[in-house]
Assembly symmetry: C2
Homo-oligomer: 397 residues x 2
C-alpha cells in the first residue's frame, strides 16, 4: 500500500467543537513561529503561502499556495477562517477593504494597517495626536529636498519610499543637494518622505498587543541594534533605561495602538535621541523581530498575544521571566548547514534556545535567531552572540 | 483560481541543507506537543497518523495515514526519515527489529522499548541489576495468585496484563482468592503479572533523557496524583521530598536508562512507600504526562530533549525555571467546547499556560492540560486546578 495516497487533509468539521481557525497571509518565519503557540492553544493556523515549501508551509497542516495580491485568492482563503491576520504588511489596502466589506474579519484592519504600509499616512496621522516624530515632509522634487534640509538645519537628511520599504530597503541617506541618492529615490516611482536625520544614542522598540474590545498590554521596552537596516540584536529590557522613560515609551505605543485602532501586535521602533527625546521611527502591525526574545523570555510570547488579540481572547502577561534576555539574529553567512553547528552550540550552552526558520542560507538573510537569558547581561549577551556567530560560520571555536 | 488545487506538498530536497527529518509513529498529543519544539528547532516532524484529523495531524505538514502494525507501511514511512521514534509504545517489537535489520534508525530501539511494552520482561530485567521493585511474579492460574498472595503477606494483590495496558486499563486489584477480577484478568488472554500492593504515601516520577552516545540529563523529581489510573496533577518539584531521596530517584532512572540502552525520554513512575522505599512502578520510553510541566516550567522541555536525544544532539538543561510548577490535566467532562472557557480562565489568570490537544471531548479523555508556575505552591496549585475544573465544566465561577 502507498501511504502517500491516503488522504491527509481534513475539514473544519473534523476539528473539536469551538476550534478557532486563524488565517495568516504570508508563510514567512513570523507565521512559522505563530504556529508554535497555535499548536499549544489548540488554534488551527491556516497559512496563505508564497510557495509549497516556504518557512511556515513546512510547519502547518493547511498552507494553500496563492497570490496575496489576488482578491479572489485571498477571499477563498479567508472563507474558511474566523479571522485573517498577517505575516507581512504587503497586502493591498483596497483588497483588505473589500474583504471587510464582504463581512470578513481582518485584524489588524485596513484602516489601521495602512499606517504601517504608508509612511506618509503614518506621519500625518501621528501628528494629529502629537506623537513624537522626527521632522518630516513629503517631497516631490530635489528642490523640495533642499528646502526641507534648510528647515531642519541642513544636510544630511533621510529619504524614504512611503510604501514597500523594509529591512533598510527604500531608505537613503542624503549628504547634500548633489547626492546621487536623491535621483535614485525619486526614480523609485513612489512618493518620497523626507525625514530629519536624528542624532540618536540607540534604538528602542516598544511592543504592545491590543484586542478588539480595547484591552492592551505593553512588553518591556527593549534595545535593538540595527546593522545595514536589519535588526541583529535585541536586549530585554533596554539596559539602563530610566523607568520614567520606559513608561513614556510604553505609553506612546499604547496611545498609537488605541488611536489607530490596532488589533494584534504593534511594534513601535523608536530613536533615543542624544537630546533625550524618544522619537517614533517605524511602525509594524504584526509580531516583530524586536519581540522574538519574548518566546523564551516572557510569560506570554508576542506570537501568543497576537493570536489571543485577533481572536479577542484575554491577553497574557507580557512580563519578563528573567532579569535579562538577549536575542541575536542568525543571518546567512558562509555556512549552508545551520544544523551542524548545533553540535557545538548546544554542547557549549545547555540553556541556549535556538530557533531555525526552515530557510535556505543566503548572504544576510534572516534564517534563525538564538536567545539566552539570565541574571548577568554581559554573560547572556556573550552566549547569544557566540552561538549566532558560530552557526553562521563567522567564528569556529 | 482554486487555491486548493495548487500543490501544498514538498519533498526533502526543498528543505534547507542539513534539516533533520524525525518520524514519529502515532499522532496523539505527544506528537502534537513535539511539533511545537520541532518547529522552533528547524526539525521536520513527520507523523504516521491513525487518521487524517488526529491530534498531531492537525499540527504538522506531513502526516501520512497508515497502520503502525503493518511492516510495509512503517517501512515506507521510515524511508523518508533520519530516525523513527514514538508517540506510543504499541508498535510490535518484531516489526521494530525488522526495521533495524533493514538499517533504519529507531530510537528507542526494540531491545530497550520491549521493557516498556512487556511488564514481565521489565520486571525480570530490573531484577538483574537490583532496581527497587515491588514483589512480583508471573502467574498462570488462580492458584498461582493465591500462592503469590501468601508470599507477600496476603491479599490484596495487583494483577496486570504484561502487554497493552495503559491509563489504568489492564490492571486489577484483587481482594481475595474468590475475587471475580482474577477471572477477568486471565480472560484477557495475555500473560498476567502479579504484584505486591504497595502501601505508598504518594507517587513520584523520574524523567531522564539519554542520547545514543550516552549523555543523560535528569529532570527534577515530580509528584503525580493519579485518579482511576490516570495522571491528573503533577507538582514540580515534588513538595517536601528530601534531597537525598530526590537524588536516589534520579539515579535509579539514570541507571535504568543506561542498563536498558534507552534513547530519548525515559519516564520512571515510582511509589514512595510508607516504609520509605522508592519502588519502580511503570516505565515509559517517550515524553510522558508527568513531564508536561517542563514545556512552561523547565529550561528545556521533555519534548525538546526527546528530539535532541533521538538526533544525538547535545541535551538541554532540565532545570526548572520557577520554584514551583503545577500541571493539571484537562479531562473530558460535560462541556464540549474547550475554547469558550478560555475567556474566563485567561482573564482570571494572565500568567496561565493552556494546552489543548485538538481532541473532541469524551468523558475522562485527556483533551488538554494547564500549567501554572510561581513562588507559592498553594497559589500555583489553586490556579492550575481552577482553570482545569472550569474548562471541563466542573465549576462555573
Amino acid at each position: 500500500m502507498d501511504i502517500r495516497l491516503l488522504p491527509v487533509k481534513f475539514s473544519r468539521k473534523d476539528l473539536p467543537v469551538g476550534t478557532p481557525v486563524v488565517g495568516m497571509v504570508g508563510g514567512g518565519q513570523l507565521a512559522r513561529m505563530t504556529q508554535e503557540t497555535a499548536v499549544a492553544l489548540g488554534i488551527q493556523l491556516r497559512v496563505l503561502a508564497e510557495g509549497p515549501a516556504v518557512s511556515a508551509a513546512q510547519a502547518v497542516a493547511d498552507a494553500p499556495v496563492g497570490d496575496y495580491k489576488d482578491p479572489e485568492t485571498v477571499r477563498r482563503f479567508a472563507a474558511e477562517c474566523d479571522v485573517v491576520t498577517f505575516d507581512h504588511e504587503h497586502v493591498p489596502t483596497d483588497l483588505l477593504q473589500s474583504l471587510e466589506a464582504d463581512g470578513i474579519t481582518v485584524h489588524p484592519g485596513p484602516d489601521a494597517l495602512v499606517h504601517a504600509q504608508d509612511k506618509a499616512v503614518m506621519r500625518r496621522r501621528l501628528d494629529t495626536f502629537d506623537a513624537p516624530s522626527p521632522a518630516h515632509q513629503v517631497v516631490e522634487t530635489p528642490a523640495d529636498v533642499e528646502d526641507f534640509a534648510k528647515r531642519v538645519g541642513g544636510f544630511p537628511v533621510i529619504l524614504k519610499t512611503t510604501r514597500g520599504g523594509y529591512d533598510g530597503k527604500g531608505v537613503w541617506f542624503v549628504d547634500g543637494p548633489d547626492d546621487a541618492a536623491i535621483g535614485t529615490a525619486f526614480a523609485s516611482g513612489v512618493p518620497i518622505l523626507a525625514e530629519e536625520k536624528v542624532d540618536f544614542v540607540r534604538e528602542l522598540s516598544a511592543i504592545v498587543a491590543r484586542s478588539p474590545h480595547g484591552q492592551a498590554v505593553a512588553y518591556p521596552i527593549v534595545e535593538s541594534v540595527q546593522k545595514d537596516g536589519i535588526c541583529v540584536e535585541v536586549s530585554a529590557p533596554a539596559p539602563g533605561l530610566a523607568p520614567e522613560k520606559a513608561a513614556q515609551a510604553q505609553q506612546t505605543a499604547l496611545t498609537i495602538a488605541g488611536e489607530l485602532g490596532v488589533v494584534g501586535i504593534l511594534a513601535v521602533e523608536m530613536f533615543e535621541a542624544r537630546d533625550g527625546r524618544l522619537l517614533v521611527n517605524e511602525l509594524a502591525m504584526r509580531p516583530h523581530n524586536t519581540g522574538h526574545w519574548s518566546i523564551d523570555g516572557a510569560i506570554t510570547s508576542q506570537f501568543e498575544n497576537h493570536l489571543r488579540a485577533v481572536l479577542d481572547l484575554p491577553l497574557g502577561s507580557p512580563a519578563a521571566r528573567a532579569p535579562y534576555t538577549v536575542m541575536v539574529n542568525v543571518l546567512g553567512g558562509d555556512v549552508d548547514d545551520m544544523h551542524r553547528g548545533l553540535l557545538h552550540c548546544l554542547a557549549r550552552d545547555p540553556a541556549l534556545k535556538v530557533h531555525l526558520y526552515g530557510k535556505s542560507v543566503k548572504p544576510g538573510r534572516k534564517v534563525g535567531h538564538v536567545t539566552a537569558y539570565g541574571d548577568d547581561l554581559e554573560d547572556v549577551r556573550e552566549r547569544a552572540r557566540h552561538a549566532a556567530a558560530y552557526l553562521t560560520g563567522a567564528i569556529d571555536e
